[in-house]
């Protein structure tokens, strides 16, 4: 996002990418079948989300690039070493943070407040949604803001499983509303939107219009997680980098592993040093402004490794807070078998591949009144139905059929196909003192760069929230007449996903109003190094249940506006 915004404003931008270049248009395995892949496309340690997943040289382990965990910690750090990084394979779930989410401490006394309000970021949400293409409904609920008319694309019609869930969740008081996903249900209006998004900038309007004309609407088939060669969903490689390159202002250097931000005697950033992975040589780049967008973990790592006489603890780390307040999303889920869904007439349930509906958090008042025993909320992602058969299909059928085989197995398979559903909670984690990353003094990666060591601890707010998730999902499944697949755990610590597993790693360079208690100001600008900015998840002060990508994009845009204004004022 930063490369795009700065390039359309006329700046020369050099993008250093730690992985290889990647072109979804040529590389996405559209319409491939599991049987055409090794192991039917199942996930392996090399391709954790399956063979076809749009992750290159990535996962929770990257060969040659280790990280370590402090004793007692099992943090899993996801990386994608490819152009566009994690935007290539994400879930496309694009929920705005709400008013409460920016001021959590004011509301319940825990964590910290953001140095900006929802109202300040809202115009950037509007423009980001128009730019990347997000579908959604017109709901505007408590702390679940809607978008102004004309911003979102129409939500897709719900699937049968989603309508059935809505019907049975309603008596439990749980709302089921259209999800917001960064997938286009119709083509963008290239004659209108670019002018709305970039008023007074003819170059931006022209390159964006040209880029929008090359995007098709969703084809209602083939998983988004594999990428999209028709550019119907949001990946920075199909949506932001093409118009950025059209300006002629952007250079991209792949296989460039940044290791250090360099500074001059006055404390200004002068550029970065990186390892050229193809030749294993150290290179130097000078720049007027340095923007780090390497992921919360990698950005902290670069800063901590950027030691100088002015910054002995790492660049911009006078507060000692770089690496601190690392957060992920609380995750817990459960599945069930729903007899009502057995033997349904064949019909296409592929849809937009992601969910068409979801459940926003609904217990704000009960929670504030202290009735739940944990402080923050979660939303629910769910699905099921007659999707494309993959490896492991009918793994849950043995118990239902007492081990059917032979012709009876085939009959039972026809009956049970499409009758399972899953429910996953995605909840807010409150930042804590025990969850952080630092440099491991004993370990370097294959490029000679000191690696991160993680420390991690959930508080009871998170584990109790996870227990609430699975209890609630079991109630929904039972309300639908179904049976849960497994015993419902009451101990949240046993069901909560490991730190990092949900891949919503944020924090580590939090912004704030005071240089003593934050690394960045409200524009994601370093307090100490005026020409150093951060535009990934690192500036997050809290980690609301809303998936972070949309907020990262909106914040990055706001940061770029600030960079341009500061340059014009001659401050940087």
């Amino acid at each position: 996002m930063a490369a795009y915004q700065l390039a359309v404003a006329g700046l020369k931008v050099l993008v250093l990418e730690a992985g290889r270049t990647y072109d979804p248009v040529r590389e996405t395995p559209m319409f491939k079948l599991p049987r055409q892949a090794p192991l039917l496309g199942a996930g392996t340690k090399h391709k954790p989300f399956g063979f076809y997943d749009a992750t290159v040289d990535g996962g929770w382990e990257v060969p040659g690039e280790p990280y370590t965990n402090a004793p007692g910690t099992d943090f899993k750090w996801w990386r994608s070493r490819m152009l566009g990084g994690r935007t290539n394979h994400w879930g496309r779930i694009s929920l705005r943070m709400g008013e409460y989410d920016f001021k959590p401490k004011t509301r319940d006394g825990l964590g910290a407040d953001w140095p900006l309000t929802y109202q300040e970021l809202a115009p950037y949400y509007d423009r980001t949604e128009m730019l990347i293409g997000v579908y959604g409904g017109d709901d505007d609920l408590e702390n679940t803001p809607g978008s102004p008319a004309g911003v979102l694309q129409p939500a897709p019609v719900p699937r049968a499983t989603e309508l059935l869930t809505k019907k049975h969740a309603a008596p439990l008081g749980i709302p089921v509303i259209p999800a917001h996903l960064a997938i286009m249900t119709q083509r963008q209006d290239a004659d209108v939107l670019p002018k709305k998004i970039h008023p007074d900038n003819p170059l931006a309007q022209r390159v964006l219009a040209q880029s929008m004309r090359q995007r098709a609407a969703c084809l209602w088939a083939t998983p988004c997680g594999w990428g999209c060669s028709v550019k119907a969903n949001f990946q920075s490689t199909t949506v932001l980098l093409p118009p950025a390159l059209l300006t002629g202002n952007v250079d991209i250097v792949p296989d460039a592993m940044v290791r250090e931000v360099t500074v001059d005697a006055t404390g200004k950033a002068t550029g970065v040093n990186y390892i050229d992975k193809t030749t294993r040589t150290d290179r130097k780049v000078t720049a007027r402004i340095v923007v780090l967008a390497a992921s919360a973990g990698e950005t902290a790592r670069i800063m901590l490794n950027s030691k100088s006489s002015l910054f002995p603890n790492g660049v911009s780390n006078g507060s000692g807070l770089v690496g601190k307040y690392l957060m992920d999303t609380v995750g817990a889920g459960i599945g069930g078998q729903i007899p009502a869904l057995e033997n349904l007439p064949p019909h296409n349930t592929d849809g937009a591949s992601g969910m068409h509906m979801y459940m926003p958090w609904w217990l704000y008042k009960e929670q504030l009144a202290g009735k739940l025993g944990f402080a923050r909320g979660y939303h629910v992602e769910f699905g099921g139905g007659r999707g494309m058969p993959g490896p492991g299909i009918f793994g849950g059928m043995d118990a239902l059929t007492n081990g059917a085989y032979g012709k009876r197995l085939k009959e039972e398979a026809r009956r049970y196909y499409g009758s399972w559903m899953w429910f996953d909670g995605r909840g807010e984690m409150i930042p804590n003192e025990d969850s952080y990353c630092e440099i491991d003094p004993n370990v370097v990666d294959q490029w000679g760069i000191p690696v991160l060591r993680f420390h991690w601890k959930w508080s009871e707010h998170e584990t109790k929230q996870a227990a609430h998730m699975v209890k609630t999902f079991a109630e929904v499944i039972e309300a639908m007449g179904g049976t849960v697949n497994e015993k419902v755990e009451t101990d949240g610590a046993k069901v909560i996903a490991a730190g990092g597993q949900i891949i919503h790693e944020v924090g580590t360079c939090r912004m704030g109003t005071d240089p003593k208690t934050s690394v960045l100001n409200q524009y994601c600008q370093s307090w100490e190094v005026k020409n150093l900015f951060v535009t990934d998840g690192a500036p997050f002060v809290s980690n609301a249940d809303k998936n972070p990508t949309l907020s990262i994009l909106a914040l990055a845009w706001r940061t770029c506006d600030h960079i341009l204004a500061e340059m014009q004022r001659g401050n940087i």
Binding site: V25, F51, L163, L203, Q214, P345, P346, Y405, R414
Partner: protein, 230 residues
């Protein structure tokens, strides 16, 4: 099956054309250059030093395990099961999924070859699975010899059935059959995976997706009626 839908599938050729057009028009590196007028108009802050930026070099997949060629996939590891083991496995797979009036037997769509690929894979879990599967196949022959004086492949379906009945479900299997039942469960799981991901298996279940559509429609009325949602 597809005529039960009221969706309008885009002609496949049409869809591929859309994809091909998008690909031709929009490959990342093919960005056209901005006209000078436009560029000049917006350059307020930094002067343009060079006329054009370099597009990233087109590299593509490197063919490593973490960066395989997704469009030309290949499970290129040696297969470890022997021909006699594969023959026994084939007989067992077809006991689990035999032919009926709607679809063929498991072996017809290549399930034994998939299981061989699976247990031979270069991963720790496959090494363990290979031991279980080999052990299970050997057990089948020992048990067949005990009961009928022949190998499993030489038995009739009627003779194989009582053996399979004894090992078809781990939870209810007698103690002496528990280990064999674990093996049977693993082979059943793999057989279902292989069979139902084949074209014949997907057709058998009535999976009708993975086709490009111009529009995604609401569930058909008979589905909504059946779910009490009409």
């Amino acid at each position: 099956m597809s005529d039960e839908q009221d969706t309008t599938p885009m002609d496949r050729r049409e869809a591929l054309k859309v994809i091909a057009t998008a690909a031709a028009a929009a490959s990342l590196g093919d960005a056209a250059l901005p006209s000078t007028a436009d560029a000049q108009a917006t350059v307020q802050i930094a002067p343009r030093r060079r006329p054009a930026a370099a597009a990233p070099p087109k590299t593509g997949p490197r063919g490593t395990p973490t960066d395989p060629d997704l469009l030309n996939a290949r499970a290129n590891w040696p297969r470890l099961l022997s021909a006699p083991e594969l023959a026994t496995l084939t007989a067992l797979c077809d006991m689990i999924i035999p032919a009926d009036d709607r679809s063929p037997a498991a072996s017809t769509v290549g399930v034994p070859a998939y299981i061989n690929e699976y247990v031979s894979a270069p991963y720790d879990w496959a090494e363990r699975s290979l031991v279980r599967v080999r052990g299970g196949l050997a057990w089948l022959d020992v048990e067949s010899a005990k009961r009928f004086g022949k190998q499993f492949v030489q038995l009739t379906v009627a003779q194989r059935t009582p053996i399979c009945d004894d090992i078809c479900y781990w939870m209810t299997a007698k103690p002496e059959f528990k280990a064999a039942a674990r093996f049977f469960g693993e082979i059943r799981n793999l057989t279902q995976s292989g069979f139902y991901t084949s074209d014949a298996g997907m057709r058998d279940l009535g999976y009708v997706g993975n086709v490009p559509l111009a529009k995604f429609d609401a569930p058909p009325p008979e589905v909504l009626r059946k779910l009490g949602l009409a």
